[in-house]
């Protein structure tokens, strides 16, 4: 039995729902943040994810980061050596989708390993009449940049755990591959 640990950066523009998704996931869907409260520093929340059929698990240290630029100097220092990355935008907010390129560059610049498992999350799908970002467009962008795409509604408790489970699985497979490499060296 093995227990992995991964530092998971959660980033994206302000008010897209990062803290909401993190709280919801870490409380197993029981805690939806209805009222907006701006994140001003990195809030670390630990959540254990079981890897199905293995007896292995991963402790995800979710680094819920502020979206507001004024806090970025302080917080980005703490992104050092990330294990995986959850990039969030709001499907009703075109600008938050455009910012994704910037967020991805910033986080990727913090890693010294060749691989960084990453997901793109389009949140707030419940607001379908205000939708501004096309699902296909987001999906294509994600594929082009090597991310797995998910759509979520934290409000309707829809898919909120999938992005994190996907990251946990990718991280786990990366570990297994690396161990095989270590074996083949001797």
């Amino acid at each position: 039995m093995g227990k992995l640990t991964a530092k998971c950066i959660v980033a994206g523009d302000s008010s897209v729902g990062k803290s909401t998704l993190v709280q919801l996931f870490s409380s197993n869907g029981s805690h939806f943040l209805k009222n907006y409260s701006m994140t001003t520093g990195i809030d670390v929340v630990m959540k254990t994810v079981q890897i199905p059929d293995t007896g292995d698990s991963i402790e995800l240290f979710l680094c819920d980061s502020p979206g507001k630029a004024v806090f970025s100097d302080m917080t980005e220092m703490q992104w050092d050596q990330p294990g995986c990355f959850c990039l969030v935008f709001d499907v009703t907010n075109e600008a938050s989708f455009s910012s994704c390129t910037k967020w991805l560059q910033k986080v990727r610049s913090k890693t010294s390993s060749a691989q960084l498992p990453a997901v793109l999350v389009g949140n707030k799908t419940d607001l379908s009449d205000r939708r501004a970002v096309d699902k296909l467009e987001a999906q294509e962008w994600a594929v082009r940049h090597g991310l797995v795409y998910f759509e979520t509604s934290a409000k309707d408790l829809e898919n909120y755990e999938l992005p994190f489970q996907s990251l946990a699985k990718s991280f786990y497979h990366m570990y297994q591959e690396r161990v095989e490499n270590f074996k083949s060296l001797v």
């Binding site: 093995g2 640990t5 570990y175 490499n181 060296l185 001797v186």
Partner: protein
């Protein structure tokens, strides 16, 4: 003071008494088992560390580490009876040789240092995970 050729090996009474990170398939005991094919893996995030306790206080002249993907490594020593009061004795950046086992000899900085316990702190790496195959020391 005792003298031994390979003081860090289990056969000489040295043991890994602590290691962060945990995969039962690749435990820290593998560092000391004398088998070059087994290894300890870190399981995510840095820093990671392990402590080797020797069977007494030894004067050390050389330490050899077989590892893969370690970048910044700090070695600390303690002469206390218990593994406390560590003092840094060397910090080293291992040059990246992709996927090769890096064999690191730490000679000048360590020469003549006395230790009952050795603490290896892996500060950073070239990947999410590293392996340490063995550590040995000469007096």
């Amino acid at each position: 003071m005792t003298k031994a050729g390979d003081l860090c090996l289990s056969a000489a009474g040295a043991r890994v008494i602590l290691a962060t990170s945990s995969d039962e398939r690749h435990p820290a005991e593998h560092i000391m088992d004398g088998n070059p094919e087994t290894f300890w893996t870190t399981t995510g995030m840095f820093p990671q560390e392990f402590i080797i306790s020797l069977s007494g206080v030894f004067k050390i002249n050389k330490i050899t580490i077989h590892s893969s993907l370690v970048k910044n490594l700090r070695i600390e020593t303690s002469i206390s009876k218990e593994p406390v009061n560590f003092e840094p004795c060397t910090e080293k950046v291992l040059i990246f040789v992709y996927l090769l086992i890096y064999i690191c000899f730490l000679l000048p900085q360590l020469s003549g240092i006395q230790a009952a316990h050795l603490r290896f702190v892996i500060l950073s790496a070239y990947d999410h995970f590293v392996a340490v195959y063995s550590v040995s020391g000469d007096t």
